[in-house]
Structure formats: C-alpha cells, structure tokens
C-alpha cells in the first residue's frame, strides 16, 4: 500500500504539510494524491474511532452469521446488496467456511436488533438461516486499543 494511504489510515487528520515532510513530497503533491484517491473511490470516507462503551449509550452491536442460497445469476451479490441497504447494517462480508455472509448490525437495544433479524433479515428470499452473537465489550477496534495504555516507563533522558 502507498505509504500515504498507510499514514492516513492511521490518522486521517494528519495535515498535508506534515505528510509532505514525512514522505519527502511537496505539499501540492500530497494534496493531489489525496484528491485522486478520493475521486477514484480508493478513499471512501473519513471517520472517528469512537469508544462507544465509554459513552454508556446502551446501544448493542450484533455479529450475525447468515447462510444464503446463491442465486442462479448474481450469486451472493444480490442478497448481499439487499442486506447492505438496511441502515442498521454497518458491515457486510462474504466469508469462506460454515456460513456465507457476516454482518455487523447495531441497534438501540437488544429488542431492536432481534426485530431486525426476525422480521427483516430472516424473511429475505435466499436467506436460509441466521446465528446472532451480541458483543459484550470492545477491547480493540480498527487497530486502536479502547483502554488507554499505561504511561511510558522510559527514563526521561538516556544515552
């Protein structure tokens, strides 16, 4: 992966000026490349990594395994597209192994997710079965630890 993308994935707020210094590029070149990534859709957006547990919102997230009958034309894509359109669905992945699609679904509470599974998801044509797992606690997300690391014990000055 381009080093610029690597740095933006780690911190999307890094300024073009700093990126330019780190990568030995001109500021204009950095801006041009970012604009190009945005235009071609390689960069799809910028989001904050939020520790929702800390907000005590009481929202729940479920990981749902879905078995699907692929369609003659379109394979898994048409069912996956259909599922992806629900706003409560945060992520959808096609998987190898014992099930086909893996969903991350969030809702106000357990009831709301349960309703989504039984009334919306399970009734979609092509969906054979679902297995829903509720998340209890987030330790690490998007490569970021949710608990603050302990302070460094390095000496302040060393040879």
């Amino acid at each position: 992966m381009d080093e610029l993308l690597h740095l933006l994935k780690r911190n999307a707020l890094e300024t073009p000026e700093n990126l330019a210094k780190m990568l030995n590029l001109s500021v204009d070149e950095v801006r041009r490349r970012i604009a190009n990534y945005e235009k071609t859709g390689i960069i799809r957006g910028y989001q904050a990594v939020v520790n929702e547990d800390q907000l005590s919102l009481g929202r729940v997230t479920a990981v749902i395994e879905v078995k699907v009958t692929p369609e003659r034309e379109g394979g898994f894509n048409s069912v996956a597209d259909r599922i992806s359109k629900f706003p409560e669905v945060e992520s959808v992945y096609l998987m190898s192994g014992a099930f086909d699609l893996l969903l991350f679904v969030s809702g106000r509470d357990l009831k709301e997710v349960a309703f989504f599974v039984s009334e919306k998801l399970a009734t979609i044509r092509g969906v054979i079965s679902t297995a829903t797992h509720f998340m209890l606690k987030t330790y690490k997300a998007n490569g970021v630890l949710m608990e603050s690391a302990e302070g460094s014990e390095r000496l302040k000055v060393s040879p």
Binding site: K21, M22, L23, L155, K156, V157, S158, P159
Partner: protein, 399 residues
C-alpha cells in the same frame, strides 16, 4: 582514617560525571516535558517476542546457560549475521552472547588492552567509549568528525592520530548521536587503514538495521577484515528490546575465547529468558524491524524538513534515530540552548558536548518519540529559536 573518597582508584575518580546524568537530574524534576533526549525506542518489544519470554518462564526455563550463551541462539545469530552482513561465524567458537553491547565492548577492550595502549575512537560518540577504555587502563584517542563531512570518519583524520601504540579502532556507524553512516568506500578506506597499521577494529553496529539511505556495510565483511574485527551487535535498538539487555560479539576464536574468560568470571552468562526472547526475534522475524524502520524514517524526514524550515542547519541523518542540528549561529552554547529550551518550552534535548567536546554547537534530538510529540516539539523549538535569533535579541538595544 582516610576518607572513603581517597580510596577510590584514581582512574575511576578522575572520570567526570556524565553530562547526560546531570541533564537527567534536571529533567526528572519537571512535569509535562516532551523529551527528545531518550536514546531508546518508544516502541514496545514486539508482542510475539514478549510472549516467547513468558512461555519460557512457564516452561521453567530459569537456569544458567553455557558461558557462551545458548547454542541455539548463537546458531540463529550466525545465520542472521551471514545473511544480513555477509560474514560467516562459527556459532560454536566465534559468537559470544553478552549482557547488551555495553558488556561486549567492555569485554573486547579488557581482552586486548595492555596498560597504556591507545584506542582510536571517533567523537561525537556514545558516552561510554572513552570511560570504558580508561577502565581497561587504555588511552582513548578521539578523532573528531565534522558536520561538513556529514560526521563521516575519514582516513586522513585517522592517519593524523595513529601512533605506534595504537592497538585498535573503535567504530560506531550508524552513529549515536549524529545519525551519520559510512559509505562502502569509507568502510574500505578505514579497513585499508587498519591493515596498514595492523590494528584491530571493534565495530559497534547496534544501529545497523536502522539505516535509511543505502545499505549498511559491515567492516568484517571486507576481505582480510574478519580476523582483525570484533563485531558487536544486539537486540536493543532494531527490536526495541533495551530492557532485555541482549548483545553479542563475533570474532576470531582466540579473541572470543579471551572475552569469554572475562565474561565467565564476571557475568557468568546473560539471562536465559532474554536469550529465549532473542531467539524468537531472529527465528520468527515477522515484519517488526521493517515496520519500525519505516516509521523512524518518516520521523527522520519530518524532523529534517522541520529544522530546515526553522533555519536550523542539520545534516540529513542517514541512520539510527538521532538528529544533530547545529545551534552555533544562535550565540549560545549547547548547554545554554538545552537548558533554555527546557525552561521556556519544556522540551528536552541533549547538549552535544555530552558526546565529546567537538559536540559543542550541536544538540541531539532523538526521534524515538511519537509523531504527535515530535510535531509539538518542533513547534516549541521554532518558537524558542525565534526568541534567540540575533536580530530578535538585538531589538531592545536598538530601540
């Protein structure tokens, strides 16, 4: 009765307190300091290495090892050194595991120095070189490297300092504190010099993996040099394992045997847990070293550009994780600069004089610190410099 101070051996008593220690004492009394004064990686040791040491403890691996160190680790080291630095060592007789490179250097010097022998070393350099030569009853002879040469060591500088009593040359590239490296031609010149004067070379290659421009040339890999070189390396910097205290020395069986004699009676062996960790580092290298190197390189670029932007002359560091900008034009000494910066802006840098008298006019800025901290430190240093600029300081007089 004699005072206890008068019982201390003169050659120990006469060594001045380390400039870094003085500075450490001041910094450690202050809160919220951004420190660019730390000569060790800010990364934690990669998890698989830490996990391997935990596993070793669980298995009850808590005994002494052979004086030379675990044979399996010496075999891993021999393979690693051959692959990366192009020198083949016999793990049975030519590799010694030590407690950090610091111990390895001390052993090497004690093994070869007769009282009064001269040891050539280059300044600015790591703080321990001259003192350990003195502890071994040798005479350290400094060769001053210069900013205009990018702090490289040149043959002409060496020729000017060599005498019939010179026994060995001590090398450290990539260099702490300057970040300088040697080109393959420089290394060849230095090897020719060593052969001509029949010198041993002790090469501290602890920063070898952290080379950003070009590749590291190990002097022992040059024709005829393996026999006269003691190659020192370890795990502290590239693997972020400072606290494990893991180093090693490679050299001819005779030299290694002599060093082992001192090691066995003074240290016995290095910690077996650390040795297990080091073996994991070499046998399952993953991408740790490469990722850290890439991160240091970005920080290096950032610092170099930032110093240029604020008008602080700084040669491009080519290795290690230190920048060594010049502050001479600001009309203050290195120490005044460092103390002022600490006092006004709470940023710690180390005065260049801690690394030898010729470090006057420079400060060492370690970039083994997160990018966020580096960015804030650069803002503060720029602000501080502005208050020092001769024009800014002259204003009150002209008003």
């Amino acid at each position: 009765m004699k005072s206890s101070g008068s019982r201390i051996a003169a050659h120990v008593r006469d060594i001045p307190r380390s400039g870094i220690r003085d500075f450490f004492d001041i910094v450690s009394t202050m809160k919220d300091v951004i420190s660019l004064g730390i000569g060790e990686p800010d990364f934690d040791t990669p998890w698989h290495i830490r996990e391997a040491s935990i596993h070793a403890l669980e298995r009850g691996v808590t005994s002494y090892t052979s004086n030379m160190g675990l044979l399996s680790l010496r075999e891993s080291i021999a393979r690693y050194v051959a692959r990366h630095y192009g020198v083949s060592y016999n793990p049975a007789t030519e590799v010694l595991i030590t407690v950090g490179v610091s111990e390895a250097l001390d052993l090497a010097l004690r093994a070869i120095i007769e009282p009064g022998d001269e040891i050539l070393y280059h300044e600015p350099c790591y703080v321990s070189y001259a003192p350990v030569v003195i502890f071994a009853h040798g005479k350290p002879v400094a060769v001053e490297t210069r900013a205009e040469d990018g702090f490289r060591l040149t043959r002409a500088q060496l020729e000017a300092k060599v005498t019939p009593r010179t026994k060995a040359l001590l090398l450290n590239f990539p260099n702490n504190p300057t970040g300088a490296t040697l080109t393959p031609e420089d290394v060849r010149d230095i090897a020719d010099f060593a052969v001509k004067h029949d010198l041993l070379v002790i090469s501290d290659d602890i920063y070898a993996e952290l080379t950003y421009d070009g590749t590291h040339t190990c002097i022992a890999s040059l024709p005829g040099m393996k026999e006269r070189t003691i190659f020192l390396h370890g795990f502290s910097k590239a693997w972020a394992m400072t606290g494990f205290r893991m180093g090693y020395a490679c050299g001819s069986p005779e030299l290694i045997e002599a060093m082992m004699k001192i090691h066995q009676y003074t240290m016995l062996c290095a910690s077996i847990i650390s040795q297990e960790a080091a073996r994991e580092a070499l046998e399952h290298p993953e991408t740790d070293v490469e990722e850290m190197r890439a991160e240091y390189q970005r920080r290096r670029n950032f610092l170099h550009h930032s110093f240029q932007e604020m008008g602080l002359p700084c040669h491009q560091p080519r290795g290690a994780f230190y920048a060594f900008p010049s502050i001479a034009h600001l009309g203050v000494t290195s120490k005044e600069f460092a103390l002022g910066l600490l006092d006004k802006e709470k940023v710690a840098v180390v005065p260049g004089t801690a690394f030898g008298a010729c470090g006057e006019g420079f400060v060492r800025c370690a970039y083994a610190t997160s990018m966020d901290e580096l960015q804030e430190a650069m803002r503060r240093i720029a602000r501080f410099i502005h208050t020092l600029q001769p024009s800014a300081r002259a204003r009150p007089h002209t008003a």
